[in-house]
């Protein structure tokens, strides 16, 4: 039972493959990490088959796919299905996700993951193997936003117990019932599956498939792909805020920056013209300018300078160093400023590993029309670091990454030192302008 889109019988594997290939280009140029999907569900629902099928399909399409095997079989604990068993497999799975999500992989497939851990937890609670308090703490841990948000789609495959047992016994000479492979336990499992899906519906992006009546494995997996590809697309190619270039030209005139008293009215004017477009389309569209939320971190009289690797493509295109960290605005909200700071906050957490929700002080709008690259307009904020400990920890720090987004290093300098060393610093244009024209720190 695939929800929403009914499968068009005309959709062929070849067509899907082509689509996946095209999607890979976008994913490689825009995504900062791998797309992560979990497959979970009733035993014998076809999960393992789907895992292998998806792996083969995406490899065929050119993706670098990494499969996180189900670890239950590797677990040395003798009591299968018990709380410590669940804790072991969950921790093992989490460790592997953390190792892999930021590599050069394009796709991570989890053969049972976060959702599965919650299903087992529910079963353990029903069997009174864990207390309500333990259940809550464990669920909260599994659902911690930091890693829960790394899972982009969860596929739940379900099958009726009798069908599951039929499939299990199909090739056995002497069919036997097991601790899970029996009608009662399977029914209980399915019930827990439904409960978790209902209870945590807004924490997962679910695709639900019931294979009870499925006769054709290929067809089931085609249907799954038809659901899956748009989800990967929406993730890799989010809709971002853009404004018409004409409006920007008119607003900025000859100015490279709008600040002071004019900044807020200019922002309101821009906000009225914001529309959302797929990022890949916006990149190709010369008539729109993409909005970038950008934050300059300051601490006392110092400004945080972020230094890219010498050979990074952004170093070549924009400059070696920048005073800001930024991202596209991909939240469609009434209040543009709030949407921008929300997006920026997420990026600060990803890049600087800071979880403080800082105060953002709006500085103004940056748009550099003197350069060829005029596709971006900056909503600039000052982000004061209030804690000395935080600042101390950020000093001369390397932010290492395994993936394609490159390393950055943070250096603290006074505005005076920046202005004096401007030639050596090779700052990108918005930073350059701000360093010279606006006081960014308090005395």
């Amino acid at each position: 039972m695939i929800q929403a889109t009914s499968t068009d019988s005309a959709v062929t594997g070849e067509q899907l493959l082509k689509r996946a290939c095209a999607l890979l280009q976008i994913l490689r140029s825009q995504a900062r990490r791998a797309f992560v999907m979990e497959l979970t569900g009733t035993p014998k629902a076809g999960k393992s088959t789907s895992v292998v099928t998806l792996q083969t399909f995406f490899k065929e399409a050119g993706y670098q796919v990494h499969l996180l095997r189900e670890r239950a079989a590797d677990c040395p604990l003798p009591m299968k299905g018990h709380f410590f068993f669940n804790a072991w497999t969950t921790a093992r799975m989490l460790a592997e996700v953390l190792e892999r999500y930021e590599t050069n992989d394009d796709l991570l497939i989890l053969d049972r993951g976060f959702f599965d851990a919650l299903v087992w937890l529910e079963l353990q609670a029903r069997r009174e193997q864990v207390t309500a308090e333990e259940k809550k703490i464990f669920a909260d841990f599994v659902l911690l936003e930091r890693w829960r948000s790394l899972v982009d789609v969860t596929v739940i495959m379900k099958v009726r117990p009798d069908i599951a047992l039929g499939r299990e016994h199909q090739h056995q000479i002497v069919p036997r019932l097991g601790s899970l492979m029996n009608p009662e336990a399977l029914a209980e499992f399915n019930d827990a599956l439904d409960y978790v899906a209902r209870e945590f519906a807004n924490q997962f992006s679910l695709i639900r498939i019931d294979t009870t009546d499925a006769k054709d494995v290929v067809k089931t997996n085609l249907e799954l792909l038809v659901e899956l590809l748009p989800r990967i697309e929406a993730w890799a190619d989010p809709r971002i805020a853009v404004v018409p270039k004409d409006a920007v030209v008119q607003l900025f005139g000859d100015r490279p920056f709008i600040h002071g008293e004019e900044a807020k009215p200019a922002l309101v004017q821009l906000a009225n013209q914001v529309s959302f477009q797929k990022r890949s389309e916006a990149e190709k569209n010369p008539n729109v300018v993409q909005l970038i939320a950008a934050g300059v971190h300051t601490h006392r009289d110092r400004i945080v300078i972020l230094e890219r690797e010498l050979l990074h493509k952004k170093t070549v295109n924009y400059g070696r160093r920048t005073l800001w960290i930024g991202c596209h605005v991909d939240e469609d909200r009434e209040d543009l400023l709030a949407a921008a700071t929300d997006c920026l906050n997420g990026r600060i957490q990803q890049d600087l590993h800071l979880s403080t929700r800082p105060q953002f002080e709006f500085l103004g709008l940056a748009w550099d029309k003197t350069r060829e690259e005029t596709q971006h307009l900056g909503l600039m904020f000052r982000v004061p670091i209030r804690s000395d400990y935080v600042a101390e920890h950020l000093k001369n720090k390397q932010f290492k990454k395994m993936g394609r987004s490159g390393q950055i290093k943070s250096v603290f300098m006074t505005q005076e030192e920046i202005v004096t060393g401007l030639n050596e610093l090779n700052l990108e244009p918005w930073s350059h302008h701000m360093a010279l024209n606006i006081r960014l720190t308090n005395a």
Binding site: G253, D254, R255, P256, F257, I258, H259, G260, E261, D301, E307, L363, R382, N396, V411, M413, Q415, E416, E417, V419, T420, G421, N423, E424, L425, H433, L436, N437, I438, R439, L440, T441, N442, A443
Partner: protein, 171 residues
Amino acid sequence: MRHSELALVLIRLKIKSEPHLLLIRSRKWGDWTFVGGHVEPNEKNDWARAAVRECNEELAPLRYGQDFILLPLLDQPIRWGPMPSKSAGGEPTIYTAQLFALRFLKTPAECLSRLSPDEFRIVPEAGITEKGAASTTVALTARKLGSLDRTTFAWDAALSTSPLKTQSLPV
């Protein structure tokens, strides 16, 4: 309403522990005023460019980058007016000014010795707002600065005492 944008450069010197200001004789009006001037249309909102241009003109032979640098003093420009503009025949004008502090890269004494003594004057900062002490622009700016919350600008950091030691840049 007429608008006028200014980039003004404050050259503060500590003399006998008292802050002083270096003022230049206005060629047009004969009074003592800040180095700096009007922002040209092609310099709009890029005050630093206007300030550097004005400094190189008015402080010649001193050169930006060799003898001094400019630091923005405020996180946003100050405003005053509308008031009648002398240069526009008394037309009411709103003034927007971004202020810069000049920091000498060599000893202030050495730099100052290269300037023409007739064109410049060093005056104590206290009493700068008094009538006749300096141009209206200087008095208005000083008054405006005095009323600003001190955390919004880097006034004290702008005091030129000794040449700036540049920290060698990390590469």
